[in-house]
Symmetry: D2
Subunit: 361 residues, 4 copies
Amino acid sequence: MPGSSYGECFKVTTFGESHGEAVGVIVDGVTPGIEIDESYIQVQMDRRKPGQSSVTTPRKEYDEIHIMSGMFEGKTTGTPLFIVLYNKDMKPSAYDDIKDAFRPGHADYTYLQKYGIRDHRGSGRASGRETAGRVAAGAVARKLLEHRGVQVVAYTKAIGGIQCETYDESIIEKNPVRACDPVAAEKMVQKIEHLASIGDSCGGIVECRIRGLKPGIGEPVFDKLDAELAKAMLSIGAVKGIEFGAGFAAAEMQGSEHNDPMDRNGFKSNNAGGIIGGISTGDEIVFRIAVKPTSSISVPQQTINVKGEEQEIVTIGRHDPCICPRVVPVVEAMACIVLEDQLKRQAALHDRGFAFESEFE
Amino acid sequence: MPGSSYGECFKVTTFGESHGEAVGVIVDGVTPGIEIDESYIQVQMDRRKPGQSSVTTPRKEYDEIHIMSGMFEGKTTGTPLFIVLYNKDMKPSAYDDIKDAFRPGHADYTYLQKYGIRDHRGSGRASGRETAGRVAAGAVARKLLEHRGVQVVAYTKAIGGIQCETYDESIIEKNPVRACDPVAAEKMVQKIEHLASIGDSCGGIVECRIRGLKPGIGEPVFDKLDAELAKAMLSIGAVKGIEFGAGFAAAEMQGSEHNDPMDRNGFKSNNAGGIIGGISTGDEIVFRIAVKPTSSISVPQQTINVKGEEQEIVTIGRHDPCICPRVVPVVEAMACIVLEDQLKRQAALHDRGFAFESEFE
Amino acid sequence: MPGSSYGECFKVTTFGESHGEAVGVIVDGVTPGIEIDESYIQVQMDRRKPGQSSVTTPRKEYDEIHIMSGMFEGKTTGTPLFIVLYNKDMKPSAYDDIKDAFRPGHADYTYLQKYGIRDHRGSGRASGRETAGRVAAGAVARKLLEHRGVQVVAYTKAIGGIQCETYDESIIEKNPVRACDPVAAEKMVQKIEHLASIGDSCGGIVECRIRGLKPGIGEPVFDKLDAELAKAMLSIGAVKGIEFGAGFAAAEMQGSEHNDPMDRNGFKSNNAGGIIGGISTGDEIVFRIAVKPTSSISVPQQTINVKGEEQEIVTIGRHDPCICPRVVPVVEAMACIVLEDQLKRQAALHDRGFAFESEFE
Amino acid sequence: MPGSSYGECFKVTTFGESHGEAVGVIVDGVTPGIEIDESYIQVQMDRRKPGQSSVTTPRKEYDEIHIMSGMFEGKTTGTPLFIVLYNKDMKPSAYDDIKDAFRPGHADYTYLQKYGIRDHRGSGRASGRETAGRVAAGAVARKLLEHRGVQVVAYTKAIGGIQCETYDESIIEKNPVRACDPVAAEKMVQKIEHLASIGDSCGGIVECRIRGLKPGIGEPVFDKLDAELAKAMLSIGAVKGIEFGAGFAAAEMQGSEHNDPMDRNGFKSNNAGGIIGGISTGDEIVFRIAVKPTSSISVPQQTINVKGEEQEIVTIGRHDPCICPRVVPVVEAMACIVLEDQLKRQAALHDRGFAFESEFE
């Protein structure tokens, strides 16, 4: 019930604080007999890690993973995978002067209200660093999804008001903001660099597409596929909204426009975003999330301290002026985790005892 | 794991199909010793029931509830509340001609893909009728929240492109679309009536405000308060998006604009929408959802049947041309359920054994 | 989290009090497309119902079930089955004089301590009547297990010190105590009738055998098959202990005796009771439970009332002098529920996406 | 759903194999603001660790714990505690010759059947070594229980047929078998040493007493306190049975004997073992578990290999000839975890919003 776990059949539990000894994850319910190596997971870690470009935080973490259980001779055994990343470049003392004050936009105040105690160093558990464990678990899910022909790709759609006008998937990993439009990408980098120079930050839109998922996946009533994806995305720190398919635009549409007609080749449009009644249609799943501007800025802001006294605060430390490029792999990771969980739930529902034959016997 | 339950400490499980014998809910984890009567719950049922105005479906269900367990001498006993509504005005035969064809926008195709079988009568389990059980459970949660001073109010913010320009809470329940602006409300009714006359439908925006919730409520990491609210809202059939506080507009803001400064009186703005780091700030919680246009329209649409043959389809039956007015009480119900669950989880977290003294002894 | 639900993939939630309007169950996660009719379930209900013989309570309940959802044209749809039994022969006034006193052996005192309020009529939720919902759910699980070739049979092994010396499965349902030895059965009936005549009661041992379960079923570490069966059995009101295979006798054995050797035909003995490391071996699963004597006796006993005053109490009402015969179908039902849940969990674990092909497409 | 987690409000997830890099645990839902240090936990680890006396395995593990998250300045923060023990004295090659054969009594065969792959080194995940994580988590729970005045003590009651005749709690930790009777303890040591010398092993009985638990704790219906304790105990590798209070002896008692009468001072006997209707009575909770003889023996046994060929096997490696002394701290740990979880669940049930006041504000 405490909130550090996600999933029913494919279960992910993270631990760790920004400036503690380590962060990591236990992944339980991993299909046994699957070949996976650390380098496969490391690829995803490297996409999330800090310091990867001029537009990300200069904190230097190599985010090197260690798998400590659940593997035998290069294959998963079906027992919990434990994956750890030791923190290296910690500077807890950098947070000394914000120990007693609440940074606007940060979870400082709410954590203290919730727990009556807080680890103020680098936002503790509320730090984006917690997502490292998710990305590791997401890489495991991604490997399992490969066996089902499912692909998940996310990218930056907009930053600080600059929209991508074209869609070129091949360039996403080739520009530092992970945008799908090279022209927009360049403008975005300039905008971020400018904001960084004046100590400010900006938000953006990240879009995600899921392909190859067969129709029929998702658990009505409360655990609908879109409901679970929404939960998973809103569980990422800076995310303030989500929409599927036509999304908020649907609010201004008429039924005759919004309904997706079918012919023998499938759906003729995809306003639904690939999910109807909480279940996949077999069409591409498309959703977008709103990412707020990074809370850590060096522009002076008004706040109070733990004694309730008013004061000005300037957030120093090492931060991303725009978190979108590093949110992209987290979005993909969470989507992979949700999908793998729902696929396993579907398998459970339909099992009549014929699904698995042990290799032995 | 199957998806018909929501909640950890305050647990809601619904059952029932649109044209089956009954729909209803089991609510487990209800605080014992609370006075509640059927009329308190019935008030909420009446807000959701069909046939309440010219802009809703003419299906005639009185949605009269029966509490069959968990009560003793007018008080909750702490054992499961079972609340049932017998279906009365069923016309399953009205669905005979869509038995083998997939209505665009409906879950017909996806249910068949998921289960390999479907109850086609009035959308079966995918019908909005399932939400009757949620509204009953939500009323129980609302009663418990009253003991904590928490209020939840939702209303229509926009319909078919017509926006509310003013906010007058007192008129919400006095207009058939449950809008917060009387002028807009009138235009909305006209628009809906027009669309109904041509067999079409429209979508809208519903907004929800939560007041009186103390700071510190919400479970990091995966079960953040906004993540749970997002899941709960997206689990409502026609909802295609959600945003908190500034929401999607945050994507175009800078940190210095979006961050909510604090002074000794609290937060000076509420771009966060009352939740930071997944935990309540104590400020008003505000979110909006996008509601798609009703899928059931009598405009001819192209589709296929269960044999994969193309055909035209006209959805007859009794439907709401715009579902927003009836979504409003469902949104409130789900918000109440989420809040009660999170409050109980907070109580569990902090318990050191001094919380409860039995009245006996 | 409240305790009225069991199961992860095959989820059972019961409701109802002894002298409320109804008792029943929601079963979620039922494999779709399975033919099942009410009469199949009714057979199991009739084995549990009161008043079935001279050795059971004279309360007259026909325990007629109604399936109100989750079925379509005689087949399960995969949506929640809701099964209700309306209470008929209620005599709540019969409990008026024990309203304020705690019956020894009953949950009167503990319920009041837990909830601060109690429905004293016929033990309310703590009544054996709650198990009616379990038996209905168990019958559904039993039908699913039939598709896998799994059989579950329980029977009375001992009552009041009288042990079964022989094992004849064919006579179990042919004697009122459901013993496996006809000679012992007769003595048991005499003993029960004698105790009933003097207002006393007795306990016994119920044994359960599970056949046809393939090896490999059970979830290490905490959700071992024997751990789940133990939980399920101890969740039955009067059960005070459980042992698997050699059970408590194993405490006096040496490893060379207790270990079950294998040859090419399988295990050569079954001291393990069919479960090793929490996982089925493929051999017969065997466990025994200790059933305490019925708490309701008309022999005067010393107790206190809600004011803490000492008094004598005589439990009147309609009771079983020995609960074993009616526990037998409950044991089978709970075993079926546990097995179906674990089988579905195994299917989820191994799913690589090839398990289910929709009939459509 | 995969089985490596226990608990709803106080949630424990273990990972690790016997001869992998590390074993450990994530504990989520820990009350914040509690002082706890590693040495407090280490005390319990030392009671479970191998090599502590002549009657335990000579494997040399110091079982030194590291807390890597969830602590700040000596206090719990309410975020997940992550506790790891790196394995030191691994000898995986010692298991080379049993790589392809199934040791009788071990989970070798069942793990292969379940997963289709197995880590054969020292039983992998099925090893008693997994319980190290449980003992660490149990120590955290024990600290929280101290705040409530709850004590949990377990001890060896019988080994290889030798029964404790007296009960002296003060000597339990002063004899290598953790028996409660010094005379019996000496005989037990002799018996174990004799069996070790001939390569055989023996079982025993461990008893547990819980004091100071207020009445009213436990969750009807399925999650009864005794049901949860039964599950927790049967989830320990070698445990084959459990009984509460009079236990199996209750099967031969009459109601007038078994029922515990009350007077103004409380219960006058404790046949119930401190739990009625699945809820604590406030009296001492007493249960006993049956521990099977250690499966690893060097007496030759008949078995088959992975090809199905018959062969003889002699289990070498480093093992405990009787596991009871080391099971004692595991029993206590699991009992502590169950109790803390149930206490938190009770707090959640009763919360009306007055339980916690943040230290800030």
